[in-house]
Symmetry: C2
Subunit: 220 residues, 2 copies
DNA sequence: CTGGGGTTAATCAAGTTTGACTAATTGACT
DNA sequence: AGTCAATTAGTCAAACTTGATTAACCCCAG
């Protein structure tokens, strides 16, 4: 059921999606877009990780690297990337998987939410319904497995750990149901429904959510 | 507000705590305890990470390594570790920080729950109250910062990302309040309250939650 | 016309995480 | 006596992440 073999962080999805929306993008542009979405707050989208992901995915044929174009706006020459056919497939696979699978890493779902409008409304609804089912199954498996024969008191305070997971699963499912309702009710503009929502910064546009001072407490 | 500089994963807290409970432990013992607590399901407590953490923390003086003792039960010779004074301090700092700080990584809180009984009941209550406050502050900062002047509709579907964080924060705070009530109501046995709950496997005791087949769906 | 500060863009070393692998010993079954 | 599987214990290369640093270029105050 795991769609992608390897560490399932959000970075690949984020970078692939950013490059895809631009058509052609260099690292700094990707970095800026992700910052615009606040991704540096809730995911590991830091410069090093972004450049690493770009190179790695270029090596794997998911991106095509256009060798150094001289910068038009100061700074060192830059490498531009375009998504390949294989990369697009990977993007869609990751996106569908991240919407469906419950792996309790909030960054993965957050990233997927940012790109969900790249799919059909109907498909997103199906995927989210599947997500709810996956959460419910997960919950059932966990509670059955971790309940000792002689009652849950046997676990002592350790039981609070399970309690916490289960609570997270339940509230996660509840939230997903809410999202399903909003989408079913006509919210947002999905693929093939006309003018898409613009989520990238145009060349030269200033970033209202620019980085710098942390503003959201200590949350990473 | 961040108590520990460096990647705030749960592994150091888990390993320090496991060694501490044993008094003296080798890597495999730690690995087994963490498995017993289900930590391999909800954290990065995999063999490689555990052995790495042991070595690293020994290098940093948090653990003292007793060089190779011949194994008494098969397998290659093993290195035993004891926690040092510095290590105990670090453990308590990490533990307090993990209970207090809201960094939305469920594994950190889970690990802390497992060790909370190593502190006084009163202190845990204070730390958890502080956690609730931290969550509320975080929420306020995020909603204020990410609300465009011309109304939240401007964000389009991207707003669902924030909505998701905020929902997680709210339900996290709610759960914490529930835990506070249970603890205040006398649940569990904390430091200095007599017979502590035994959370480690004795030498030779079989592990009822032994690893192997994944049982909890695809959750990592 | 120069040199310090900011912006653009990317690199690097150090540390961490991962999944797969190695290796030693026991015990059980031939 | 031999060997095969399971258990015990740990190592390793490859990949990933991080924070700091580098490097090119622009602007403009002095």
């Amino acid at each position: 059921m795991r769609f992608y073999a390897g560490p399932m962080s959000a970075i690949r999805l984020l970078v692939l999606g950013a490059v895809r929306q631009h058509g052609r993008a260099h690292g700094y542009q990707v970095r800026n877009d992700l910052e615009y979405w606040g991704a540096h707050e809730w995911s590991n989208a830091k410069p090093g990780s972004i450049y690493h992901a770009l190179k790695q995915m270029a090596k794997q044929g998911l991106l095509h690297a256009h060798e150094i174009a001289p910068s038009t706006a100061g700074g060192p020459p830059r490498t531009e990337y375009e998504i390949t056919e294989k990369g697009t497939e990977e993007f869609l696979t990751l996106l569908r998987g991240s919407l469906t699978a419950y792996d309790q890493r909030p960054d993965v779902l957050s990233a997927a939410l940012g790109f969900m409008v790249d799919l059909d409304r109907e498909e997103v609804l199906e995927l989210l319904e599947e997500r709810v089912l996956a959460i419910e199954e997960w919950r059932k498996a966990v509670t059955e497995y971790y309940t000792p024969e002689d009652g849950p008191e046997q676990l002592g305070h350790i039981g609070e750990i399970m309690n916490f997971w289960v609570h997270s699963a339940d509230t996660g499912a509840e939230w997903t149901r809410g999202l399903i309702e909003r989408i079913r009710g006509g919210a947002y503009t999905f693929a093939g429904e006309g003018e898409p929502f613009v989520g990238v910064l145009a060349e030269g546009q200033e970033n209202p959510y620019a980085t710098g001072e942390r503003h959201a407490g200590d949350a990473r």
